[in-house]
């Protein structure tokens, strides 16, 4: 440590000084510093005193009878716990499997329970806002949600059309020339699932 007296000493150093953990050179430096800072010296003297009080107030031990009773309870608890780590992991996996199966069954029942016709009708009757890209400002996004963010300008060249999957026929799919990305299509969707279509003006060579 430098021979100069610093303005302050870090609490870690002062704690080590109280515990007698400093090498002789550092201890001497701290003692020189304390001579210049009597208020801190008094504080640390109080810490020494605290340690003495702590050691003078030992916690009384429980009786042998008490220890015997505690040990019996520990033995009983350990005897009823799963004995092998592998066995515990199997129980945990079984628990997860049962829980997931139950959750999946519940979700399936909820989905099947709602009639597709009711869903389509409800969706057709509800209005929802549609915004252009310049009308949206992203204030924040979690890293896990970035996959759901569509990057780029959709090829919307006309009014949006509400259709169902059964009303749409895919003629061809080609990567976008701007980024060579191919759009992901929900080809496995039931025919009555509502979709929003942004019709493109077909190029002459692609006209059926």
């Amino acid at each position: 440590m430098s021979q100069e007296i610093p303005d302050e000493l870090p609490p870690e150093l002062l704690a080590a000084y109280v515990d007698g953990k400093l090498d002789p050179a550092r201890q001497a430096t701290v003692e020189r510093w304390l001579m210049e800072h009597p208020d801190v010296a008094e504080e640390l003297a109080g810490h020494h005193h605290l340690i003495q009080v702590w050691r003078a107030t030992a916690v009384p031990e429980p009786s042998a009878v008490t220890w015997t009773a505690v040990f019996e309870r520990i033995k009983h608890s350990l005897a009823t716990a799963p004995s092998q780590p592998g066995q515990r992991r199997v129980f945990a996996r079984l628990g997860w499997a049962v829980g997931l199966a139950a959750a999946g069954l519940l979700v399936a029942l909820l989905i099947v329970g709602r009639s597709a016709e009711e869903a389509a009708k409800q969706l057709a009757e509800e209005s929802f806002p549609v915004a252009a890209t310049h009308e949206v400002q992203i204030l924040g996004l979690d890293a896990a949600d970035t996959e759901a963010l569509v990057v780029g300008v959709p090829p919307s060249q006309g009014p949006l059309v509400l259709a169902t999957a059964g009303e749409v026929r895919i003629l061809s799919i080609a990567p976008d020339p701007a980024d060579q990305m191919v759009a992901e299509l929900l080809l496995a969707a039931p025919p009555d699932v509502p979709m929003i279509i942004a019709p493109m003006v077909p190029s002459p060579e692609k006209a059926p």
Partner: protein, 197 residues
Amino acid sequence: MAVLTIPACPAPSDEYLLARFAKGDRSALEELFRRYRGLAYRVAYRLLAHEADALDAVQNGFVKALAHLDSFRGKSSFKTWLLRVVSNAALDLGRQRGRREAIGLGAADHSLANGSEPLSRDDPTLDLQRADLRQLLDAALATLPEAQRQTFVLHAEAELSYREVAEALGISIGTVMSRLFYARQKLRAYLAPRIVR
């Protein structure tokens, strides 16, 4: 006549006892319990200031530690790891039950508020003084944030080194040392008007 000195058998290591326990040797469990029950109890008692709660914390801690030995990867000593589990069990219990006031604590503080003399260490009735001092320490400890209290007790009561406390709590050695400083500062501030040197 020749004198033969038979060296005492060294005590089995914790690792040996744990291996024996894993194989179902209940005498290994008994030895581990006998070896660390006192230390575990003193740590739990300092954190809870209540004998019955401290015994429950010791019981819960031993059960958790020994039922989850696969979590003990040997990075620290078994003693350090056990005391971490026991002190966490004590803190959990304290939160659940509300840290009870030490018996007679209210009376000890109340007498001071009524103008009684602070406790003196140079008093003939030393046993009574020790009990009162311990109660004052319990009250002072209750004023510390949990992290400082746990750090302080593991160092002051369990006499774990800075490194062992750091390993037990998953913090840096520097954090251990600064927590000790601030814990002592708060304890001193609480005790200073109540204890005469």
